[in-house]
Each structure stands twice: as structure tokens, then as C-alpha cells.
């Protein structure tokens, strides 16, 4: 099967060949952006991501078979322009996402209430988090990149990826306390 670097190599002489990369990954990039900043922003960022990638394709390291980390990195950079929209999305996490989580992970009514609170706290934590840490965390959790992939995407050393992820997870854990704090009957939910 043709890999991404073959397509990019071919696009250096036949520029329209780059559309194959779009056909492969546009939806994936859209979903990632849509999760972070909503579908309206996602339409634009998806399109811009590939325009930037096309412009920069001569800089692509052709030894890398999959271009997804590179594309995620571009999308992440573009998303910085939409920080406000993204912040609104975190604040809106509770309403938009809690019902889904409740179905999957919390079966009873009490559990659903817990889920709403947990997702609410999660949104709050993401909102408070430093942008660079959040970007790293979401590439890990939502784009399924490994440390090496994130390092490629953001053009940072793997050690930096590790320290950012540790910091981000610490903050998340502290906010949700879901893993570490046993829930007491009738106890108010606390940070």
C-alpha cells in the first residue's frame, strides 16, 4: 500500500497528487479539531491544515511513512488562533458530552449525575490548563499519537512531551479526583 511519504514525494512533481493525502486524512483531522473547537471551526481548520501542509510539503521528512503527526501538528498550531472558541467549548463540555459518557460508563441515575460532574470538572481543568500542556494532552488522548508522534507534531523533544503530559495529567487528576477519591454517600462533590 502506498504510504503518505510516497504521496508527498509524488506531489513534489505532480502537485495535484497531494489531494490523495487530503482524501486519506481530512476526516480524521476534522474530527480532532471538531472535538476541540466545534464543527464550524473544524471546517476551516481542516481546509487550512492541508493548504499549509501543501505549502510546506518540501520540508516534510520523507523517512516518515505516516503524515498524521505532521498534520495534527499543523492543525494544533492553527487551533491556537481559535483559543477563545476552544475555551468556550471546554466550558460547554458538561452539556454536550455528559450524556454520552453517562451511557457508556455510568449506568444508574446516581452515576449519571456523577458523570455530569466529572465531565464538568474535566472541562474546567482543560480550561485552566496551560495551552501547551493541553495541546500535548489532547494529541495523546484524542489523536492517539504516542510520545514520538507528539514530538514530531509539535517539533519538540520527547522529554518535553513527557513532562508536559505528566503535568497535564496531574492537573486533570487533581480536578476530577475520580480515580483517587472514593465517593462517600451524600458527600458533596469537591475539588
Amino acid at each position: 500500500m502506498t504510504n503518505d511519504s510516497d504521496i508527498i514525494r509524488r506531489s513534489l512533481s505532480v502537485s495535484s497528487a497531494f489531494s490523495e493525502l487530503y482524501d486519506r486524512h481530512a476526516t480524521t483531522i476534522h474530527r480532532f479539531v471538531s472535538r476541540r473547537a466545534g464543527s464550524d471551526v473544524a471546517d476551516d481548520v481542516m481546509s487550512e491544515t492541508f493548504l499549509v501542509a501543501f505549502e510546506r510539503r518540501r520540508d516534510y521528512d520523507l523517512d516518515r511513512d505516516t503524515a498524521l503527526p505532521w498534520l495534527y501538528g499543523i492543525a494544533s498550531t492553527l487551533l491556537r488562533k481559535h483559543a477563545r472558541t476552544e475555551a468556550r467549548a471546554w466550558r460547554g463540555l458538561k452539556a454536550d458530552h455528559a450524556s454520552h459518557v453517562a451511557v457508556d460508563a455510568f449506568s444508574d441515575a446516581e452515576g449519571r449525575a456523577d458523570a455530569r460532574r466529572a465531565v464538568d470538572q474535566l472541562g474546567h481543568a482543560l480550561h485552566k490548563m496551560h495551552a501547551r500542556d493541553r495541546e500535548t494532552l489532547l494529541l495523546y488522548a484524542w489523536a492517539d499519537l504516542d510520545y514520538e508522534g507528539i514530538a514530531q507534531a509539535l517539533d519538540i523533544p520527547v522529554g518535553t512531551v513527557r513532562s508536559r503530559l505528566n503535568r497535564a495529567r496531574r492537573l486533570l487528576r487533581a480536578s476530577t479526583q475520580y480515580e483517587t477519591t472514593p465517593r462517600l454517600e451524600d458527600a458533596p462533590w469537591t475539588n
Partner: protein, 354 residues
């Protein structure tokens, strides 16, 4: 559930991009690609080392502006059945062999055409349809003499007594045999095929963008005009199979293009009628194609509401052509056919004094 699992859980419920967003993104990319190709052909490439964030914003903004300016936004909102039929036809067309015209041979195009004739009587319009057939013989070397055997037009369909009377009173059509180098019949310009056809991109989005550029500002709507251009090109010019294929794919990207009849018969041949309804033009225009071979069977225009004495639903015009290779062309004929017979004198390009 730990915090990462919870975070992963909430990512699942986003909707995928809709088709039009994907098409727009792709069109923007193809526009960038074709722009780069055009620029590279004009200048020596310079390796640019821009700070990419700054360079990107400018590039993206430029492309988006260009797309809006050429009215490209909002591509491809048609249903998947149309896309599928056009894609199938495109694939068949690209596999089809173009007729090979050897030295001394001709590409023969036999066309049947129906047109509406409208006259005004007592302040109201009266119309009837006429039919004509012709055979065009195009030499292997297109600069050589072309021959055009044009049959007389005859009444084809009438709409009530006034229409019948008008058809009966119409002057009898005249058959003509016309012959001219380069197809420059009637003191016209030599026929070259579609302007730009040789340089058109074959990628469908880029091709549609080029067609929209070419037709910008014309017709009642940009979409109607783009489809008209595609159908006219398919009907009029003997486009190579690869161009025909690309034109089908481009047509599939025009919003509101639909299948109107999956067993449409035109001049004895059956195919799928695909087209677009344009209320402001009071017409539904269609191309009839054979998806199994990629053949373009013909085109027609149907009235949405009654007009000029013809009821709603009337097919006011259709053409259908068959292409073959001929060993010879009819003898005789002159450059201006019936005009020469009438003793007319050429006074300019396509101008005569009789």
C-alpha cells in the same frame, strides 16, 4: 475510570465533516495546486524559507479570497446517486478508445437536432418544433477541408391549431452541402474546439474552477452556466475520452445536479438523464449519458412552466450525435452553401450581402 479514560470517552461524539465541507477543502487545495503549477510554469522556482505561520496565513487567505471571487464556495451538494453515475460514466469514458482517424479518413459526426421556432401572431407567441439532421466530416488534419452535409429542417411537433398553421406556413428548409478548410464555413473562423480544452486541468475540482472562471458573470446562475458549458462542450466539440471523463466528474460537483430519468430515450438510444433545474431560466437542462460506455448520447432542455405557446414539460430542444470514422466525405459543395446558391457576397467574417 481514570481521568484519561474519561477524557477519551468524551471524544467519541463528534459528527464527521459533511460532504460540502470536504469538497470545499479539497477545492481549495486543488486551487492551490493548480496555482502553484501555473506559477512554476511562468518563473524559475525559488526555494522559499518563510516563517511558516506568517506565510501560511497569507497563503490561506489568498486562496480563500480567490475561491470566493470565482464563486467556488458551496461546491458539490448533490446526492450520491448522481455522483456515482457520473463517476461510473467517467471511468467508462476514460477506458473508451478515441476513434482513430487515419490519413484520408474523416471523423464523421451525425447529429439530429430539434429546436423550437417561435413567431408572434396578434401579440401572442406561437411556437412549433423542427427537426433536422446533418453529417459533419472532419479530416484527419483539421486544417484540411471539412464537409458538412446539412439536411433540410422539417416540422417535428406542434401545439394546437395556431402552432400547426405557423408550422405549415414556414418556408421549406433547404438542404445544403458546405465545404471549407479548417471548418471555416460561412466565412467564419476556423473551428478549433473549445478554447482552453487542451490546457484544462483533469482533476475535477480544478476543472470546475477553470470552467467557473471561464463563465463568470454569464447566464442566470453560476451553477447553471457551468453545467451549460460542460454540456455544450460535450455536445458540440469532439472532446477526447479523457476530457469527457473529466467533464463528467466536474458536473458531479455542481450543486443540485440530479438524476431526472434513469431510462431516458433520445433519438432511439437509452441512457441516464442527469441535469439541473433552473427556475429563473424556466428550464431543466439534461445530458443523457450511457454509464456503461461513458458515451455522451445527447442533451435536452425541458420547460418548467408554459412559455411562448408551449406547455410545461415540453422538450424545447434536444440534440443527439453519433461519431464514427468514414473513409470518404461527400463530393461537391461550396464554402457558403445556400448563400452561394443565392448569389450572396462575403463582406466580412460571417457577413454577407445578398
Amino acid at each position: 475510570m481514570d481521568e484519561l479514560t474519561l477524557l477519551r470517552e468524551i471524544r467519541e461524539d463528534v459528527t464527521p465533516p459533511d460532504r460540502s465541507a470536504l469538497d470545499r477543502g479539497r477545492a481549495a487545495l486543488m486551487h492551490a495546486a493548480s496555482t502553484e503549477d501555473a506559477e512554476q510554469s511562468r518563473r524559475v522556482p525559488v526555494h522559499r524559507r518563510l516563517r511558516w505561520a506568517a506565510g501560511m496565513s497569507l497563503a490561506a487567505a489568498t486562496v480563500v479570497t480567490a475561491l470566493v471571487a470565482t464563486n467556488l464556495m458551496g461546491l458539490g451538494a448533490q446526492d450520491s446517486a448522481v455522483a456515482s453515475v457520473l463517476h461510473e460514466s467517467a471511468e467508462a469514458a476514460v477506458r473508451a478508445a478515441d476513434p482513430v482517424v487515419g490519413p484520408e479518413q474523416y471523423l464523421r459526426v451525425d447529429t439530429t437536432a430539434v429546436d423550437a421556432q417561435t413567431t408572434s401572431e396578434d401579440g401572442s407567441d406561437v411556437s412549433y418544433l423542427t427537426i433536422s439532421t446533418d453529417s459533419l466530416f472532419i479530416p484527419a488534419d483539421r486544417a484540411d477541408e471539412w464537409v458538412w452535409a446539412r439536411g433540410a429542417s422539417e416540422p417535428y411537433e406542434t401545439f394546437g391549431p395556431a402552432s400547426e398553421a405557423a408550422a405549415a406556413e414556414a418556408p421549406t428548409g433547404t438542404a445544403e452541402l458546405v465545404r471549407a478548410a479548417g471548418g471555416a464555413f460561412y466565412a467564419g473562423e476556423p473551428r478549433k474546439g473549445s478554447p482552453g480544452a487542451g490546457t484544462w486541468p483533469t482533476e475535477p475540482h480544478a476543472l470546475l474552477a477553470a470552467i467557473r472562471d471561464e463563465t463568470a458573470g454569464q447566464g442566470v446562475s453560476a451553477d447553471d452556466e457551468a453545467l451549460t458549458y460542460i454540456i455544450d462542450t460535450l455536445a458540440r466539440d469532439q472532446v477526447p475520452a479523457v476530457t469527457r471523463s473529466a467533464l463528467y466528474e466536474a458536473a458531479a460537483l455542481i450543486p443540485d445536479v440530479e438524476i431526472h430519468d434513469d431510462r431516458a430515450t433520445l433519438n432511439g438510444r437509452t441512457g441516464v438523464a442527469i441535469g439541473r433545474t433552473e427556475d429563473r431560466a424556466n428550464t431543466r437542462q439534461e445530458m443523457i449519458i450511457d454509464p456503461s460506455t461513458g458515451d455522451f448520447i445527447g442533451q435536452r432542455r425541458v420547460l418548467l412552466r408554459s412559455e411562448s405557446g408551449m406547455p410545461a414539460g415540453t422538450t424545447t430542444t434536444w440534440t443527439s450525435s453519433v461519431t464514427s470514422v468514414a473513409e470518404s466525405a461527400p463530393e461537391g459543395g461550396t464554402a457558403n452553401g445556400a448563400l452561394d446558391d443565392a448569389g450572396c457576397v462575403v463582406t466580412g467574417v460571417s457577413e454577407f450581402q445578398c
